[in-house]
């Protein structure tokens, strides 16, 4: 086919410019800024003072940042286990031939289209604040948790995580579903003829062939949890609180300042960003090393 250089350049240029301006330039600048003492985000570069690893050391010494790191790791790990296993369960159930598959699929995915602020308000007010009254009280009681103060310091983190997971499941379920859909049906038919029951089929056919999809899901999960922000804000709207703080909230606070807090550090905020990006990188490498995607093409 005829190729025209002019056309390639013209078609690609805007997208490449967008990439340079929105990704390459900011990422580079963030990395550099994290090694400088910068008070205001808008400070000109000649007002930056080289500080070596000082910003990182300060983060390490900050009780709030350490709490934020602990929280985000719990969200990633526990939330990840819950969300990925629930979504896999739903995907398998939906694929088992039940009626109303597309209805249930749409139902489970629905929270994803609702504004997170609305969803968090619903959960907070209905399931947790309202826990002392009516219907929810009955449900919590039957679950043996009638006296739990969900928004107290011990439980608020878990309350937040449960609510977040509820909203997240649908997305990962869809990706698992599309993974299962791509497994050739004749594999299952052959297995059925060989006398393998459903659980065995799941362990020996579905699971191994879903490894690539699992990898995709893990990647997406990591990217989306790293920027955990609005849920934390919704559960601790007035004061940043050790129980719900996340790195993104911490970055927002130290970059822009909070009530009664005069110190600001954009350099520190940049360092938070760099640490988060490194964490994602680390997770990618671990996922790639641990989960072998045998590259089966269907």
């Amino acid at each position: 086919m005829k190729q025209s250089k002019g056309m390639i350049v013209a078609f690609l240029a805007p997208a490449v410019v967008a990439f340079l301006m929105m990704f390459l330039y900011p990422v580079t600048r963030t990395v550099i800024m994290s090694f400088f003492q910068v008070e205001s985000v808008t400070a000109k570069t000649d007002a930056w003072q080289f500080a070596g690893f000082n910003n990182y050391v300060e983060l390490w010494n900050s009780v709030t940042f350490r709490a934020a790191m602990k929280n985000i790791m719990l969200i990633w790990l526990i939330g990840g286990i819950v969300v990925l296993s629930l979504s896999l369960l739903f995907a398998v159930v939906l694929n088992s031939g039940i009626r109303g598959k597309s209805f249930f699929r749409a139902l489970v995915y629905m929270p994803n289209i609702i504004s997170a602020v609305a969803l968090a308000t619903m959960w907070k007010q209905f399931v947790f604040v309202n826990a002392n009254y009516g219907l929810m009280k009955g449900i919590w009681k039957t679950l043996g948790m009638g006296n739990v103060n969900w928004l107290g310091t011990d439980m608020i983190f878990w309350a937040m995580l449960i609510a977040f997971c509820f909203g997240a499941v649908g997305y990962y379920m869809l990706i698992f579903l599309s993974g299962i859909d791509r497994i050739p049906a004749d594999l299952f038919e052959a297995a059925t003829i060989d006398g393998a029951n459903k659980p065995r089929q799941f362990v020996h056919i579905t699971m191994p062939l879903l490894m690539g999809t699992l990898k995709t899901n893990l990647t997406f999960w990591s990217i989306s949890t790293i920027t955990f922000f609005v849920w934390s804000k919704m559960f601790s709207p007035l004061n940043t609180d050790l129980t719900t703080v996340t790195p993104m909230v911490y970055m927002y606070d130290i970059t822009f300042g909070t009530q009664g807090n005069v110190q600001r550090s954009a350099g520190g905020g940049a360092a938070v960003g760099v640490i988060m990006a490194l964490m994602i990188l680390l997770i990618f490498m671990a996922v790639n090393a641990l989960i072998r995607d045998d590259g089966i093409e269907y």
């Binding site: 056309m7 985000v41 209905f126 219907l135 920027t227 990006a277």
Partner: protein
Amino acid sequence: MKKNVQPVSLKREAKLLPGYLIMLLWLVFTVVLLGWIFAASLSTTREINMGKVLGFESGLHFENYAAAWSSYNVSVYFMNSFIYATCSLAFIILISAPASYVLSRFSFPGNKLIRSCFIIAMSIPLIMVILPVFGLTTQLRLNGSRVTLIILYTFLNIPFTTTFLMNFFSSLSRTYEEAAAIDGCTPTKTFWLVMLPLAQPGIVTVGIFLFLSVWNEYFMALIFATSDRLRSVGPGLYMMVDTMTRTGKLGGLFASVIIVFLPTFVIYLFLSEKIIAGVTGGGIKG
């Protein structure tokens, strides 16, 4: 794996019972959650605080909706979200579609590099780019205008959209272009007149997905749309929830949650299949 609808077989359905139970439990919970919020939106603060939402002892308080609508700029938030979503959507497609076409169809030095760059960009957390971008827009005095946010949403979504559409273009047959070339069409013209219309299903799918994600976006809007007249529904609703908790107008709070929830919900009712296709299409190439 589309199967024909099977006749009801009790034995078969019984086997699936646990599956049905799980799904029904989820359904009941979702319905109760939404139902309660809806009931609360029609109750007074006093009733909500006392836990008597479903009684409606003092009647249905539709004025909560009137209050939420008129005493907050909900219509402005809606309009802003709509402007942000449609404008950035148009620009994204306009920039991404040609790029993805070129990337998927032609081989040239740098093709692979650009593709990899886009895939890496998709995994860069927002936290990593937000500060310099904010610094830049402030220095250029671009803050306080809708254009800034539209540009940012556009740029931010280009790697994802380009990658998504690349899959789509590469699945189109080359015979279309060959036919167009025989008819004397230049490659550029071929793209706009032949290939772009052919890619319409893919564009619609990714478009709906982008529209909803920009509509609901929170963090960027929080930082870049700082005054009332620029606010979109995410931060707008956050502010309403915040002030209404402060001033104790709980009925109004739930009314505003419902008001914000409804449009996306209605869209979803009609387009859920498309939206879901958008998610899985993007998920295949992660």
